[in-house]
Every structure is written in C-alpha cells, then in structure tokens.
C-alpha cells in the first residue's frame, strides 16, 4: 500500500502539472542543489563565491523557488497538506519524517498529499508567484505554514524548528516583505531561549526564572536587527509586533529590567492589528507586571466572562499565577488544577504540577 502511494507521489511531478511539467522538476532539483551549495559554502567559509558556480538566470531561480513555496502553501489546499507538502517538497523531508513529526502514519499523510496534488491539477492551481494585489493574503498563508512548522518543533523537535527558521530565512531572502522579516525575527528570538526553556526534568521554566546568560546572544542580535529592519518599512504587522515584544524580553539583562510599559504598548498596537482573545490575555499578563497582579486579574476575568478562552489552559494558568502572587492560595490552586486538566504538552504540565506542589496541593490525575 505504502509503495503504491510512494509511486503515485513520484509520478505526480511529471503527470500532475501538465501546463509546465519540466519546470516543477527543474525547480525542485535546483532547489536542492542550491541548498547543498549553500551548505558547503557555510562549511568552507564565506570567501568561496558559490554564486559563480550556479547556473545562469538568477532571477528565474528566485522565481522558481517562490513558485514552489506559493504552490505548496496555497490557501485552497487542506492546511495539513500545505504543511506536509512544504516539508516534503521544499525542506526535502521524507513522508515518514513528516508523518512522525505530526503524529500520523505515512500512508495517511501520503494520501493527504496525493489529494492535494490532485486538486492542484484538477482545479488548476497555478504554479506561480501571486500577483501583487494577492500577495499580502498569499504571503500570510505561507508564513502561517512556516510558523506551524516552528511551533510543532517548539518543545521536542529542534530539527523542525531549525527547518522553519531555514524556510524563514529563505523567504526573507527571496521576498523581503516586512511580515516575512517579522516572522524570521520572532522565530530566532524564541529559539535563542531554547536551551533554558525546560529544566532537566523536562518541565517548562517560566521566563523570569530562565538563566539569561545561556540565551543565544547571536540569535538575539540577529532577531533584534531584523525587528529594526522590519520597523523601518513602516508596514508593521502581527509577526513583526510579536517579534518586537520578544526582542524587549530578550534584551533585558535581568527579568526585573524588563520594560513592561514598552511591552504593554506593543500589545496595544498588536491588539489593533490582529484582535484576538489570546493577545488580550497576553496583554493582561503584561499589565499585571506593569501595574500589579490585581489589574491583570480583572482583565483576565473579563475575558473569561465572555466565555472566549474557557478551554484555553494558558488563560487559567495566567490567572492562577496572578492569584498566587496575590497570596490567594485556594483560588490559585483551583485555577492551576483547571489549567492542568486542559494542558496537553508535557513541559507545560510539568510546570503546572510544580506550582501545585509549591502551593502544597496534590496534582489531580
């Protein structure tokens, strides 16, 4: 069965895009060749000018790579298939590797990809870079796919996070739009904290307890510079704003040095650019840091009263943290238990369990 899927997948690039079948093959091949050359250049050192060894038509080359990205991430395709195709066709992961990353079986994943490729052919999704007027919306779906890959790798799969960053770099290189720059910056600034995010027991370590000397200065520097570059464009979108917030955190030498007014201000702008209850929640947590826990708590209770984040574990965890800081032990315990009942990720469950133990409460199974 699996072999049949694999065969269908292999055949598709030839049969699936009748309009310009060679272009697909050439671009995918070139894509991988360039990546190998780039990798070699990094290993050999920058003095070797690889560009000269590349075939002519650098402009077409850029276009080929972008065409492939925009086709894999076409919003008319199933979202899971977008991610799977991006990892397979652009990052060169095998179907087995992608399936393992997304906790599904290779045949299921292969089927999803075959279905997406059938739609590309039958509905005639073009193999092209979107027109200027469509670019913001189409780029948004590409960035969303990259961010999904990054988040999937956040806790347990550094390889996926690295792939996402590599994709982010590629996008910035090919299409330096402010939001692409913002997403790359955001991923780098989060990744800079990778080593300190969890402790030896695999529990999440909150930001204020992380050993900041172990944060990657190099990634922070690069991320912060990208934020500045993005802000220079004067088109500030949600990724760039989130990156700016991450940069304020990253640039504080100690937790106590964090400029919470700046962070609240950025959340205000973010909330206007991309209104969502999750951003409201984060803003409430920042306000708690600036003005005191009771101010944040009032805002979180307002959000929960609207029944918008009732099943979101982080809303209850944030509420629990504020109640704990206010010394309201019983209500803090109840909120931590509520968060624990909703949390799925191991590291987050680990931290919630620790908080409960510190408050002298039992973890509920």
């Amino acid at each position: 069965m699996q072999e049949a899927f694999a065969a269908a997948l292999e055949r598709w690039p030839i049969e699936g895009i009748p309009a310009n079948p060679r272009s697909w093959l050439i671009s995918t091949g070139r894509f991988k060749a360039i990546d190998r050359l780039r990798k070699n250049r990094r290993e050999v050192g920058l003095e070797v000018d690889v560009i000269q060894e590349l075939p002519e038509e650098p402009h077409d080359l850029v276009d080929d790579r972008l065409r492939l990205i925009f086709t894999c991430c076409h919003p008319a395709l199933n979202p899971d298939a977008q991610v799977a195709m991006t990892l397979r066709e652009i990052c060169g992961l095998t179907t087995e590797q992608v399936a393992a990353a997304f906790l599904t079986t290779p045949p299921t994943l292969a089927q999803r990809i075959v279905r997406a490729k059938t739609k590309i052919r039958d509905a005639k999704i073009p193999y092209e870079i979107p027109e200027r007027r469509d670019l913001p919306a189409r780029l948004a779906s590409v960035l969303h796919v990259v961010y999904l890959v990054y988040n999937q790798g956040y806790f347990t799969r550094p390889d996926l996070a690295a792939e996402a960053i590599r994709l982010g770099r590629l996008l910035v290189e090919l299409l330096p739009e402010p939001e692409a720059i913002g997403l790359l910056a955001l991923m780098l600034l989060h990744d800079a904290r990778r080593a300190t995010r969890t402790n030896s027991k695999g529990e999440l370590v909150p930001l204020e307890e992380q050993d900041r000397t172990r944060w990657s200065r190099e990634q922070i520097k690069e991320g912060a510079a990208l934020v500045e570059r993005g802000f220079g464009s004067r088109q500030v979108g949600p990724y760039l704003l989130q990156a700016a917030i991450a940069a304020v955190h990253a640039e504080a030498a100690r937790s106590a040095d964090t400029d919470w007014s700046e962070i609240v201000g950025l959340y205000d702008v973010l909330l206007r650019a991309d209104p969502s209850p999750v951003i409201e929640l984060n803003r409430a947590a920042a306000i708690a840091m600036r003005d005191g826990p009771q101010h944040g708590l009032a805002l979180i209770d307002q959000i929960l009263a609207r029944k918008e984040l009732t099943d979101y574990h982080l809303a209850h965890a944030a509420r629990a943290d504020l109640l704990r800081r206010l010394g309201d032990k019983p209500r803090a315990i109840a909120a931590y238990q509520q968060a624990l009942a909703l949390a799925v990720e191991g590291p987050e469950r680990g931290l919630l369990g620790r908080r409960l133990r510190e408050l002298g409460a039992e973890e509920m199974a």
């Binding site: 008319a76 005639k124 073009p126 092209e128």
Partner: protein, 118 residues
C-alpha cells in the same frame, strides 16, 4: 478552464430587504455581470428563485418520487450561479471574490469537468 461559482446566501436577506436595498443589490449584481462580460470571464449566470419554490426529483427502482423542498436547515442557500472562464484557480478566485454575495454569503468555486470530444 471553466469554473462554476455557486453563490450561497441567506435568502431571508432578500425577503426582508427594503425596495431600496433590493434595488441596490440588483444594481451590484448587474454591475458585476457587466464587468466580467467586459473582462471576458463571463459564460453564463442566473439568479434562482428561493428554495421554497424548489422541487426534488428522485427515481428509485424505476419509480418517480417528487417532493417539496429540499428543506435542509442551513443558514445559506444556493441563490444563483455564474459560469466563468478563467486561466486558473487564482483568476477564478479573484472573479468569485468580486461577486456581491461573497461579502455576506459564501461562493463555492468548482472546476468544470472537461470531457474529451468524441
């Protein structure tokens, strides 16, 4: 490529519309139709009477059954369609996004199956 754009709208909107709203709605559709005729995307298109005028026909074991309806409880009903010509899905989506009903309803874009000529 040919694409069928099926327009699903809340037909109650048209029932409740004031004469002025109705006039404006019709004008928007006329304007859109003219625009895609000029651009060369238009093949055909019609507005449909509301679902209360619909009849469902089935033949089972050679026996004809005719029923009133379908009265499926959905918020949006098929209210009309355009058959368009577009070079690919991106162009079809561009055209579909300008159909007035897309602003409050949903437009389903379906590629037309092309059969080889005998």
């Amino acid at each position: 490529m040919r694409y069928l754009c099926l327009i699903y709208e809340d037909e109650k909107w048209w029932e409740k519309a004031t004469p002025a709203d109705m006039q404006q709605g019709v004008a928007e559709y006329n304007g859109f139709t003219e625009a895609i005729k000029k651009a060369g995307n238009y093949i055909g298109g019609e507005a449909l009477q509301p679902t209360k005028t619909a009849t469902s026909v089935r033949v089972r074991n050679g026996k004809l059954s005719t029923t009133d309806g379908p009265y499926v409880e959905t918020k949006e009903q098929l209210g009309g369609y355009y058959l368009i010509k577009a070079k690919d899905l991106n162009e079809a989506v561009q055209v579909a996004s300008r159909i007035p009903g897309a602003k409050h309803g949903t437009v389903e874009v379906r590629p037309v199956m092309e059969f080889d000529q005998p």
